[in-house]
Assembly symmetry: C2
Homo-oligomer: 572 residues x 2
């Protein structure tokens, strides 16, 4: 297409809330436009990219026998009441009444719709397994949308749902999709993507993986073992820590700690290392006044995802200053009388000579021996892994990296088929609940993630497979009739052989055109100028500078097709 006709302007200014590179560059290059908090319009170059991403996803979903369908954006309350999620999901779900007063919701995901779709039409185990998928708009009323297309409220997502006769069959299929996802991200051009075990969150079910693009701006933390390849989301990651038990246990004794409240202050005051202390971290079960107290080694942090699972409840941090029975700042496991759910982290197992609160103002205990003073308590893992702790598989030091979640896959089990009463008959005519898997990829986030990984200080650098155009044709000195004729003829020729070309036909300087070309990130730049035509050539240069060559104009079309094909093959 002709750049002079393209709607959307490149700009040098960006709003102050654009802090990450993909957000800044997509705005500056005219790819996206904000409509409302977390809601965007996509300009033509961005839409061309999302269509290519969608087509790659389609091909890979079809390759694992996916059947494309379409479920609605707006759904009746009844569907979500059947699964229970109408009640369990909070403000993230948009609810409204239609003109007849019926309660409706905007789809955040489509497990309910998938079961609704399948439950009357699938009646026999012989019809299993199958997978349906769609590319459909979702709306999640995120409290904190940000980062351009990284965290939005409205987005197009590929969501897929598979149905199986037994867990073994799901497991087998799950790993086929696992591999399909690996291919999708490679073909899209993402380089540092890892699949990590994850918490399945609101989806229910157990085994789940997140595909994480490792990047410093990622909001998720991933625990990696560079040695054996162990990887897990911080939410579920575990590690091995050295025991700090000493040979001889001191007696339990009250010590004066004045007004010192935090574990740092107390350890400082008593000149003890934090790993020889017990920290009390307090929560309310969400929506109640039920107190949860976690005792954990003083130098560690509570992993709230793990904690929620352990106590099967959502939580909010609590300050117990005004709650009767608790002495905030001095809460400890010995002599705690107030009613609370008490959780002991694994890090305290076999600990001795520990400092902990004495449940009394201005006093702590020293010399706590967990086995001696709190015999029979149960320990669970609710701590956050720290960099350098040992890998649970091979024992080597773990490292932490940030990541953006670019896809996820879940083994759902029968949560939805049971709740929504979808049964099929087995060989013997007995009804059973099919087992489900579900599989998601956000299309807009994939676009932004590639931008995040693939850019330099001049602009975006699109992989050939998803670039909005493959070639950026710069005509220089188009006021020269010869250049103009040759440039337009070459533009026509490229289009005729199916090369996607953006022709910068503006009356502008070379510097101006190269600037926009770099900013927009088109993989190949071709220059036709009076100078190049003197030699009967065009100049070909790749955005990443790997290719930089002059080419006779009569061969240029073939040469470009060759470069494009090689690059697409490299990514497939």
């Amino acid at each position: 297409m002709l750049l002079s006709k393209m709607v959307g302007e490149r700009t040098k200014t960006t709003p102050s809330d654009a802090t990450i590179p993909s957000h800044v560059l997509l705005l500056r290059a005219g790819y996206i436009k904000l409509v409302s908090n977390g809601i965007w319009s996509l300009a033509t170059p961005a839409r061309r990219i999302t269509r290519k991403i969608e087509n790659i996803i389609r091909e890979e979903m079809d390759a694992v026998e996916g059947q494309e369908v379409s479920f609605p954006v707006v759904m009746p309350k009844e569907l979500w009441a059947e699964s229970g999620r109408y009640y369990s999901i909070g403000d993230e779900m948009v609810r409204f009444k239609d003109r007849c007063g019926r309660d409706m919701v905007l789809g955040m995901t489509h497990e309910e719709a998938a079961v609704h779709f399948a439950r009357d039409t699938v009646s026999s185990y012989q019809q299993l397994p199958f997978m349906v998928y769609q590319l459909q708009t979702k709306f999640r009323d995120e409290a904190r949308s940000r980062g351009g297309l990284i965290r939005v409220r409205e987005f197009v997502m590929k969501d897929a749902y598979s149905f199986h006769a037994d867990a073994e069959d799901l497991e087998k299929y799950y790993y086929r999709v696992y591999d399909a996802y690996t291919r999708i991200f490679r073909r899209i051009g993402m380089k540092r993507v890892v699949a990590v075990k994850s918490d399945s969150g609101m989806m229910g079910g157990n085994i789940a993986h997140e595909y994480m693009l490792l990047t410093p701006v990622g909001e998720d933390t991933i625990v990696l073992c560079p040695e054996c390849g162990y990887k897990a989301n911080m939410e579920v990651a575990v590690s091995v820590r050295g025991e700090t038990r000493e040979d001889k246990s001191e007696p339990l004794s009250e010590v004066f700690t004045a007004d010192k409240g935090t574990i740092e202050e107390v350890c400082d005051y008593l000149k003890a290392p934090q790993e020889k202390s017990v920290k009390a971290v307090c929560y309310f079960k969400k929506g109640t006044e039920d107190v949860v107290v976690v005792f954990i080694r003083g130098d560690l942090e509570v992993n709230e995802s793990k904690l929620k699972k352990v106590i099967s409840s959502d939580i909010v941090p609590a300050n117990l200053k005004d709650v009767p029975g608790f002495v905030a700042g001095n809460i400890g496991p010995v002599g705690l009388k107030a009613a609370a759910t008490v959780v002991y982290d694994e890090s305290l197992r076999r600990g001795n000579n520990l400092i902990c609160g004495a449940n009394k103002p201005e006093y702590h205990f020293s010399g706590l021996d967990m086995e001696r003073d709190l015999p029979g308590v149960e320990y669970v893992d609710v701590s956050k892994v720290r960099s350098g702790e040992r890998c649970p598989v091979c024992g080597k030091p773990l490292s932490l990296e940030n990541g953006i979640e670019v896809g996820n896959i879940f083994q759902l089990g029968t949560k939805y088929t049971k709740a929504m009463n979808m049964t099929v008959l087995d060989k013997d005519g007995k009804a059973f609940y099919p087992i489900m898997g579900c599989y998601g990829i956000g299309v807009g986030r994939a676009l932004a993630s590639v931008a995040e990984e693939s850019h330099d200080d001049k602009g975006l650098i699109w992989p050939m497979t998803i670039a909005p155009w493959q070639v950026y044709l710069c005509g220089l000195r188009l006021d020269d009739e010869n250049v103009k004729d040759k440039a337009f003829a070459f533009y026509e020729e490229l289009q005729k052989v199916g090369v996607e070309v953006l022709f910068d036909d503006r009356n502008a300087s070379a510097g101006f055109k190269f600037y926009d070309c770099d900013l927009m990130g088109i993989p190949l730049r071709v220059v036709i100028s009076p100078r190049s035509l003197e030699k009967g050539q065009v100049e070909i240069q790749s955005r990443d500078k790997a290719i930089k060559e002059d080419c006779p104009i009569e061969n240029a079309c073939a040469r470009l097709k060759e470069i494009i094909a090689e690059e697409i093959a490299r990514l497939s």
Copy 2:
């Protein structure tokens, strides 16, 4: 794909509210599934059709220099308040508050989003004209959704918006899109589509066309002149009627009409023809108690679309029995004292010897002469055209047909650019409001409309261009190893050369398979059976029976490709 693996079952039963053929057949063939009133899930065959329709639309929009973009489904109130439509559109628009209490709407159409998108990025007349389009989900909370995919609440629509420097440029572009639409409907395989002048309704603006598929189940009425080709939607259609003025005017006299109220009863009672009477048709301006009285020839009907335009107000039918000043059943133009907006239809111009209400219980007037008794009144056209009335262009008799609106195009003018303050600079640096056009096609309705036009008593008949699969491969007696091997080999071969094939690999009888094949409407049926293989052949038959031939199996693939290519060429 293998039919045995396809989700969705063909069925013989349909719900009682499915009364039109497309609704019945799409349900029976397993194409669609109801989720809520006017909200549907599309099964794989339907989704394959909508993708093909979308691609045809894309090609034709790109051919008129359209730039594909994406506007959001959810938009903030502010955008729609700027245009004023937040207030002027009623219950059809879904409104809700987001988690922060901000007012949001679901997009019914995207004029506001298009202006929002363009207004900051387009600054000079040199950037005009341009057109942006998208394929996006819309939601309109229709009071009466029905007819399967014909009238729904949620739907995917191609909507396009063009921006121009002057009316002449818009006009020129408008007719390019007009032609593109003609090509789209032809390529989709619709046969009886006509473009008719229409009322532009809530879109604002003036010149507009609707593309109507003529079919008995259509809800719109179209006025057609078989002679000269005049066509218009009933909402705006005009006709020429013979005058009924008689040579001699009788005097105006009160006549007793007892309790006769309707014009039929009165004319019957007085033994006068209805075309020699004046009917009073009464309304309230919507949301007010302001009365509107239309006087019209007794044998004609009021065209409410025309009336709304004339009085620039929405209306609701009124019974004036309890409204002071009106004598319901006896309202007439002479001596009407109560406050009302009075409209005289063109049909009364120069009328004489007419019967009309006397504004007095039990009495009418006879001998009304419009010119003599009501000098100086203005006449406007607010009547409905009737079949057989004369064409306004050529004077030949008009006919009426029902139609489904499958697309529409509008010359919007500056309604939105003015309201939303989008200006660009002209040659002399002076700001002006660009002139807009907008252009819509509903994808799901297009699918259903083709089904409505193209079916027989056995099922659907898809045009080759949008058929979910091009070939339905029936393997008969697949328990025979030879048939099975040959059938699967042929299935592989077809896929390899890019023929879209649905392979009925079930263990079922020929009758059962042929029944499903006809119901689903796949254009070509290929049978491989022990009998056909004896002769080394397959049987090829088209759904419309135009083709019925045996073909050596080694040539069958090439032959099918040939038939498919011919058929697609015929429609393009």
